[in-house]
Symmetry: C2
């Protein structure tokens, strides 16, 4: 795709482009400049400190245009990194169903998304860069903490963030074993079976009483 | 890198040899050749198919010398990849304590090892290469399946390998969240606290009755 060839997503964002070819092309260019600026600033400053205002300034557009094209910062992040889904939106959707059965819903949804994902490559590019580059780790970590962990933490008891991270770490490990390393039989076990094993575990992390402090500690 | 061309890593393995002479140097050279050959063959053929016999042939030594220096294939793998510990030996030690409380022992030991590890870098080098290189994935996967999962599976009920992998995937996720991405508060939560949360989960995976098949499936 070149700058003169509109892609589908851009068409959705700006419908009456046929009649105004000049302006459309300008819009598509702006959109791409925003994505470039976002990628650079997320990597350079981390998710938290790469503000929409600054991304807009770097892309030489008005902040309103960033929201016009991407609606939320989390979606801008998702598109800049070419993730198959916006985890923040997915999590919000799951949480809207309440805390009962949340563990199993989360794992089912997670399996559904990643089993259908055309590739795990974008996520792996992050993983690959994170350890060698503190800033890449900050980019990823800031997003997870702010858009995923913090949301889950609003609906579960204390220690809410720890509970949410135990869930998150288990899901990351599942992704690694099933889709990256493809360890058998986990890689080809049906989503239903994985969900019946993991669902109750995630639910316990989310809502069971906190364990008593370790007596040997 | 080919087996004939020592790389930088190989250089690091050799301390100042300048003052040293004779048999010691010959032994040290053989040892280094074995490590080079092992690295190349594990990457090229995967853990399972890189036999000690073949590694020895590539290094131009007798297979007995491989065992003399490294005792087991899993330890050769550990040293070739500069891992901080030999997970196979660790697992064997944990399993010798029986299945009661195994979940908590495993997580405590895992935290102890990785919290003390000088760096997670060698493990990450594997992760980084795995997704782009099928052979690297096979190298890592073969080791995990053969030396870790298969051992745990000998002491737990069916589906034994799935149980072992659920445990393993959770631990991999913990490593990622705590040591690679350093997501707070999980990254700085005390090992005791993490163990009291995760221990029962791992124990359930290992020894609880298998969940009933999902009725909606």
């Amino acid at each position: 795709m070149t700058v003169d060839e509109p892609d589908e997503m851009a068409e959705q964002h700006e419908p009456d482009t046929v009649a105004r070819r000049g302006r459309w092309r300008t819009g598509e260019r702006s959109r791409r400049r925003i994505l470039d600026a976002a990628r650079a600033l997320f990597a350079e400053r981390g998710y938290d400190r790469a503000t929409v205002r600054r991304i807009a300034a770097t892309a030489q557009v008005d902040p309103a245009m960033v929201y016009y094209f991407f609606e939320t910062k989390s979606r801008l992040f998702t598109e800049a990194l070419a993730l198959p889904v916006n985890p923040a939106e997915e999590v919000a959707a799951e949480l809207s169903g309440g805390v009962d059965g949340l563990g199993e819903r989360i794992v089912r949804h997670f399996l559904d998304v990643w089993d259908r994902a055309p590739t795990v490559e974008p996520m792996l590019a992050l993983l690959r860069s994170a350890p060698t580059d503190e800033r890449s780790a900050a980019m990823f970590t800031g997003y997870i903490e702010q858009e995923i962990i913090a949301r889950i933490a609003t609906v579960v008891p204390e220690p809410a963030r720890l509970r949410a991270e135990l869930v998150g770490s288990h899901l990351m490990g599942l992704l690694l074993a099933r889709h990256v390393l493809r360890i058998e039989p986990l890689a080809s076990t049906s989503p239903d079976t994985v969900a019946t094993w993991m669902g109750p575990t995630l639910q316990r992390y989310l809502t069971d009483p906190a364990p008593a402090p370790d007596p040997t500690a």
